[in-house]
Amino acid sequence: MASNLVQITRRGFGETMRKDGWWWQSLAVFLGFSAFIVYSTWAAFQGAHYTFGPYLSPMYSPLIWEAAGQPLSTHSWLGAWPSWMPNLPLPITPAFLILWAPGGFRFTCYYYRGAYYKAFWADPPACAVGEPRHEYRGEKKFPLILQNIHRYFLYVAIAFIGILAYDAIAATQFKDGFGIGVGTIVLTINVILLGSYTFGCHSLRHLVGGGCDVLSDKPVRRGLWNWVSKLNKRHMLFAWMSLFWVGFSDFYVRMCSMGIFTDYRIF
């Protein structure tokens, strides 16, 4: 093969002839993700104020056990926090039992991968901008080769959509019967955005039909493929909207539970 490849000169970190603000996009992604990580970690450690009446924060759903020391709500699947749970130096809350699933799903998502490789790892910092490291393994070798398990996280994520849809329906069951509050709408938008994100997944697109070269003789799969492809086109948009809204939903329920927000009943 061409032996003159050695003549290619590499650029140093941040070196580029680009004259536009190439750094702002990576910076925005960096700040956006960081803000979410900080908030969600903080919220997960709270172990309190994750429910308010019929509402359950999506960061605590499914609520397998009620958090230690919390009164039993209608949301808990198996009742109170079990006594056999080990006491660790850092408190574990019900959030930690489930957050690995959506966390892992987003961490291995094709869109997020591309975005955080740029924003957090500067690989590359932006298109046509020099990199800090010369060594490169990409996703061909360990550890990033593990990103290929994404489809397994997808299976779990689809189950979570079902659970969150149930939560949104449950959010209409007030003490005095059926009703719609601002929180019901917040949680409904949450499951719609999360669904739009999850059902636009590249792995799902492949599984429903992308893996076949001929779909004209498989009407159901062709329909699904077209539908997933449509959502997939806006995958980045839904990734951000759903990320923001999950955080906001938790915040809303938390603020209501703490008595800072008043939840208005619309119906």
């Binding site: 093969m1 061409a2 003159n4 490849l5 050695v6 003549q7 290619i8 000169t9 590499r10 650029r11 580029t16 002839m17 680009r18 004259k19 536009d20 094709y110 991968r113 591309g114 490789y117 740029k118 690989d123 590359p124 298109c127 046509a128 020099g130 990199e131 010369h134 490169y136 990409g138 996703e139 061909k140 070798k141 990033l144 080769i145 290929n148 398990i149 489809r151 590249h202 792995s203 697109r205 492949h206 992308g210 893996g211 070269d213 001929v214 779909l215 004209s216 062709r222 997939n232 086109k233 995958h235």
Partner: protein
Amino acid sequence: MVDYRTEVSEGMVVLDAVHQIQAESAPDLACRWNCKAGKCGSCSAEINGKPKLMCMTRLDTIDVTKPVTIEPMRAFPPIKDLISDISWNYEVKKRIKKFKPRPPDAADGTWRMQQSDIDRVQEFRKCIECYLCQDVCHVLRDHVKHEEFIGPRFLVYSAALEMHPLDTEDRVDELKDEFGIGYCNITKCCTKVCPEHITITDNAIIPLKERVVDEHYDPLKKLVKLFRRK
């Protein structure tokens, strides 16, 4: 880097300015071009640091009150001025298994296929081989993995063959090993620079990565295959 000055007028593209400089002050300034219509893929360069076709970049889209930099594509060895040696690309293409259609569907040696099945690869066939995507890809440009990675252009080419409804060849193993699809970290710079607006990463590379997962990294699929073979 050499500085040239030239007068610009309305409607000019970067390639016009280069030609004007050739005519006025630098008759030996080397540049490739052919169609001046964005269809031959010859005039690729880096304009103010961004990989672009010179003939499709209008001067009114860039700030000409400051000096404009035009460089050859940096992911390939330089030859002279704006020309770099793109022959590596031709070598890569030869390594990809050719189209191998199934036996003809009709007695007259022709095939039948549905438009909806061929739609998917139609997009990939718009490629004009300008190699701008190869140029911007950091795997080639910054990590010089030319020996281990075929680059976005040839992942698009592989996708066009691999997803073709008539094709019977299997290129998944090469994609994983010699063609190094795993080096792509889906940062989408190739998609951003493609003058034909091919959705390289989302429609070609990721679906191929998923096919590689099917064959090599999905433990459940492997198990199923094991039983099917028996």
